[in-house]
């Protein structure tokens, strides 16, 4: 009887998707619009002045980075805000009283965060392909990095949601960790344009590998090898998943 509760896991996943879909203006359309504003401001203004990779306009270089940044931020926001709201309103109790295992709980939340991340990413790309000349050289790398990175960020969002006791804690996590790491991950530039010390520092930022690997899927050009990017992304996904599962199994800050 301790087998996988597929029906329960699916129900929780559906609930999480319906939750963000019910406020889709805020959770999908707003991030698409704000990302396009970045594209408009940075892409149009700087386009003619910089060539990051050979043969690529800056806006072409920028779009995959912006898409990945939006995927990362929204996947994080989905799990973290859902968990903290459920804790605050008390409705997390309903799931905790059900025969859903910590792994099923984790899987449902992460899958929903991947769906939201991809929904936002696809929204930006759909508009991007109309205005810019984008190539999709390796769609499988694009999809793989999108899914793995969203899952990793969903996991990080869950970790923040578990550890936060109030919205203030979550805001600190978001503003002092997630935002700086995403902005400094090579979304707007190639790290080769940076001074040596900052190039070294960028290699310590896991988000850099996610952006770089995702961008490789478009242009088959990247700052580091695709294999290394995949390895780092998988490593952090495994690490964050393991930490979450340990916390969920112990019931830390969830089952008090």
């Amino acid at each position: 009887m301790n087998n996988f509760n597929a029906a329960g896991c699916w129900a929780l996943f559906v609930k999480e998707v319906k939750r963000f879909y019910s406020v889709s203006v805020q959770t999908i359309f707003a991030p698409v619009v704000s990302t396009l504003l970045y594209l408009l401001v940075f892409g149009q203004v700087i386009d003619t002045q910089i060539e990051v990779f050979s043969g690529l306009e800056y806006s072409q270089f920028l779009i995959p980075g912006l898409v990945m940044m939006a995927i990362l931020q929204n996947a994080f926001a989905n799990t973290s805000s859902s968990l903290i709201q459920s804790k605050m309103h008390g409705n997390l109790t309903f799931a905790l009283l059900s025969p859903i295992s910590p792994f099923e709980f984790y899987l449902a939340f992460i899958a929903a965060s991947v769906v939201r991340g991809l929904a936002v990413g696809v929204g930006i790309l759909l508009i991007g392909i109309f205005g810019f000349d984008l190539s999709f050289n390796s769609p499988s790398w694009i999809l793989l990095f999108a899914v793995l990175s969203a899952a990793m960020m969903g996991g990080l969002g869950m970790l923040a949601g578990i550890l936060s006791d109030k919205y203030d804690h979550l805001a600190a996590f978001q503003n002092f960790i997630i935002m700086p790491l995403t902005f400094l991950s090579g979304v707007f530039y190639s790290i080769h344009a940076l001074p040596e010390i900052w190039q070294q520092a960028s290699h310590l930022n896991p988000f850099f590998y996610m952006v770089d690997g995702f961008r490789y899927g478009f242009f088959e050009q990247s700052d580091v090898s695709i294999g290394l990017s995949l390895l780092v992304t998988l490593f952090f996904l495994t690490l964050i998943s393991a930490i979450n599962l340990i916390l969920l199994n112990k019931g830390v800050k969830i089952r008090k």
């Binding site: 129900a11 059900s98 008090k256």
Partner: protein, 305 residues
Amino acid sequence: MSLAVEFQHVTKQYGSFEALKGISFEVEEGAFFGLLGPNGAGKSTLINAMSGLLVPSGGMIKVHGYDVIQDYRQTRRLLGLVPQELIADPFFTIRQLLELQSGYFGIKGKEQKQWIDELLERLALADKANAITNQLSGGMKRRVLIAMALVHKPRVLVLDEPTAGVDVDLRHTLWEFTKELHQKGHTIILTTHYLEEAEALCEKVAIMQRGEVKALDTTSQLLATHPFRYVRVAVENRNTPLSMELKKRLVEDDNAGYLFRLEKEQSMSDMLGMLHHSGIAVKDVRTRDATLEEVFMALTGAAQA
């Protein structure tokens, strides 16, 4: 009779504070069981440990023979908890919440939809089925919690202060519904501050204080073993001072007269003699046995439950 719930040396530690100090007792299948105690006694902690909302520090809890930690899937299917805290969900309607909760338990289909309809009907929520919980009054939210606890048809229903902040009508409806579930064979575990409710409904009672069980017996036995009965005396003149003997037996002094407690072995003529010696002109005398509240107060030393 088989056991619905077994608590074996259950402890819960928060730092240096011991919320549960080795609780052990059993609840028989089909029982209507009362868990009483003053605030902070550990009732909700014990219930939450049984339901999986918290992890006990030590001991073992079994539901119908299944361990709540090792066999949590089985125990959560067997248990339905109505938590003390009101819960809201701003994203879903009541019907959607009930359907989602059914989904967590892997229950779906036409029969389940009919059960959800029945729950909504029985708990007078049918006209609010498409409202979200944030739009509901406290009493309505309480009904939603009861529906959520029953959606998977658990064999054991645990009600943690279900009538707190609920009006008289709803309280009556809740108890009628709960009694019906009990008659159908459900085991009911109830915590309440309304001790007259516990006295009327519960066959057996555990009284907790500071993380320990102070008393555990059938309600009738607890009442029978209380050493006092109570004498209400209406008097002609309330200005007459009471003798020392009467003063030490005085429980209440109000416009209706006096309420004294009398040791069970003492006769009514002893009581009348004490009143006579004090020069009190008696208009009327009524006696009664102890209530559960009086037993509770004697055991816990609490001013109120």
